[in-house]
Symmetry: C2
Subunit: 340 residues, 2 copies
């Protein structure tokens, strides 16, 4: 066993109550807990970056689902990346960079088999974003679920977010005829066209989505990547061309609703237009990982992919970062730098 | 040229006005028109059976669509089958049975290339139903769009209708673990289980669809064949299992709405369950025709497939048959026998 000096305790964020509608800081508790020494085959990781993601809101509800809900009174889980500070596992040495799923704590003691060593030639935080689940979601959603083909027109909602900003760029790099994005502020809209290379973008708060989409994509769209649900999905169903595809990836507009949302009233258009709407979770698409890392990693090294993370400093600010992300405070991936 | 004695005139049904909501007899006009002698390459068919179908309601609206609207003041078109009474086309003789798409008239003069000679060893009307577009819709929708696999559970709405009654039977013949149907009267529900071999059926007017579906399929469903839209689609989205498929084939519950319908409020469930909802029109699936005719024709000859048509006698009753079909007066395919 190798180790640095392990502290006696570390901080963890627990889920203290199930949010009713929008989460509040009172739904979480900051807890000081012992740092467990590693058992045989285990490592202790000092986390450097934590991920806060939209899907976490859904797991806070106590509903039957194919992904189990977070447990009350337990540590929140989520993607995290850090460095080994103690190891009783073969092949893991102090200082190794490790990606794992036991976030929202400063130190994690875990079976080494549940961690993945990553190459620290690239910034560690990229493994939570463009080279991680976020990037793979964008890649698999657009190409596999959305069956995107060169020359097609793509619309992305929540386009300034972690997934959306990558979807739009992959579409352009793969030869889209048009890439349109929507976002929730003039500043984000500016970034979409000026920094992320979208052909057109609009502020969904500035007017009806259907009208703004029709103006940005007068010849319609072929693929819609949905991070939002609600009005956006209805507008996209209207704009989709014959045999268009909608990738249902998120519905952040609805996650904090306490009343049932309205559904797309124009869904029957899917019959005549032979549309395909398909839900996705990234976990179904790990087989794409090698192709994804090769292609997206290549674009990153060549500087063809613009990545803008929003980094909140300080473990104690994790909940604020999470709630801020739900309200759209981020551009690109929202991350917490543990040692702020 | 060969011919029987051609009458000077025949009757046609014209679209006189675009219906606002439910069609009424006043939206149609019965017109006496000359019967054209066949030009070179043409035939004259005396129609024996006409098809009245749900899709026709949509084509009565003057809306931009991928299928052009019916023209005002022109003959209504639709599937028809009859016999040649005059021919100036090679390969077509008086008495030949011909299927074509120029219905809602007693006599049709058409380019022979637009008709298909059919084998009259089977009842002619079956070419408008189980061996025609109706049957192919059921076959392609279940197997190709719905990706149905042996051992899966299937739910069909509008199950006593022309398409639905065939979908359920194909599912059983192909090894479904459970086939559930909904229909709009106790008598139709009885027929679904007693005559068409459905495992379970319910009357959607007798209670909430979601509750009745949960009772009939407590372990959920894998494929939903939607002829109805509205409440049925929402209930099915709730009941679909992981990676379930919804075939969006019709929305008859909505065709006569003058206000926008509500959409499925639970569509975001498609994300976690990775559902696929896909619209279809039969015209995309003609490549399946040989396989379809072989398999379904075989079941028909072996008496494994129960076909119940509802036949309305008399050309003058075509509009009543059409409106009756929209209101659910039929079991199986609704047909008009021209000479009543």
């Amino acid at each position: 066993m190798t180790e640095q000096t392990l502290p006696a305790t570390g901080r963890e964020w627990h889920l203290a109550a199930r949010p009713d509608g929008w989460p509040t800081p009172g739904d979480f508790a900051l807890v000081e807990a012992p740092v467990q020494a590693p058992g045989a085959g285990q490592i202790v990781v000092r986390n450097e970056y934590l991920s806060v993601d939209p899907y976490m809101r859904g797991r806070m509800n106590d509903v039957k689902s194919y992904v189990p809900p977070f447990r009350l009174g337990a540590v929140m889980e989520g993607g995290a990346v850090g460095r080994v500070v103690a190891s009783a596992a073969e092949g893991f040495a102090v200082g190794d960079a490790v990606l794992h799923g036991l976030g929202w704590r400063e130190y994690t003691t875990l079976d080494a088999a549940k961690g993945v060593k990553v190459d620290d030639a690239l910034p560690l935080r990229s493994y939570l974003g463009v080279l991680g689940m976020t990037g793979l979601t964008a890649y698999a959603g657009l190409l596999e679920v959305g069956s995107f083909q060169e020359g097609e027109a793509v619309f992305v909602s929540g386009a300034a977010g972690a997934v959306g900003s990558v979807v739009g760029q992959i579409a352009k790099l793969r030869g889209a005829s048009l890439v349109v994005g929507s976002a929730g502020s003039p500043e984000k809209v500016r970034r979409l066209t000026e920094e992320f290379g979208f052909d057109a973008a609009f502020d969904y708060k500035a007017g009806p989505v259907a009208e703004q989409l029709a103006e940005a994509a007068p010849d319609g769209i072929d693929v819609y990547f949905d991070n939002v649900g609600g009005e956006h999905l209805e507008a996209a169903i209207g704009a989709l061309n014959l045999r268009g595809r909608a990738v249902l990836c998120g519905a952040i507009a609805q996650y904090n609703d306490t009343r049932p949302p309205t559904g797309p009233r124009n869904l029957a258009l899917a019959i005549g237009k032979r549309l395909r709407l398909q839900g996705m979770l990234v976990g179904d698409h790990y087989a794409l990982q090698p192709q994804f890392v090769a292609e997206v990693g290549g674009w990153l090294r060549e500087g063809k992919l613009v990545v803008e993370d929003t980094v909140v400093d300080g473990f104690e600010n994790t909940v604020d970062a999470f709630i801020g992300m739900l309200r759209g405070a981020n551009t690109g991936k929202m991350l917490v730098r543990v040692a702020g």
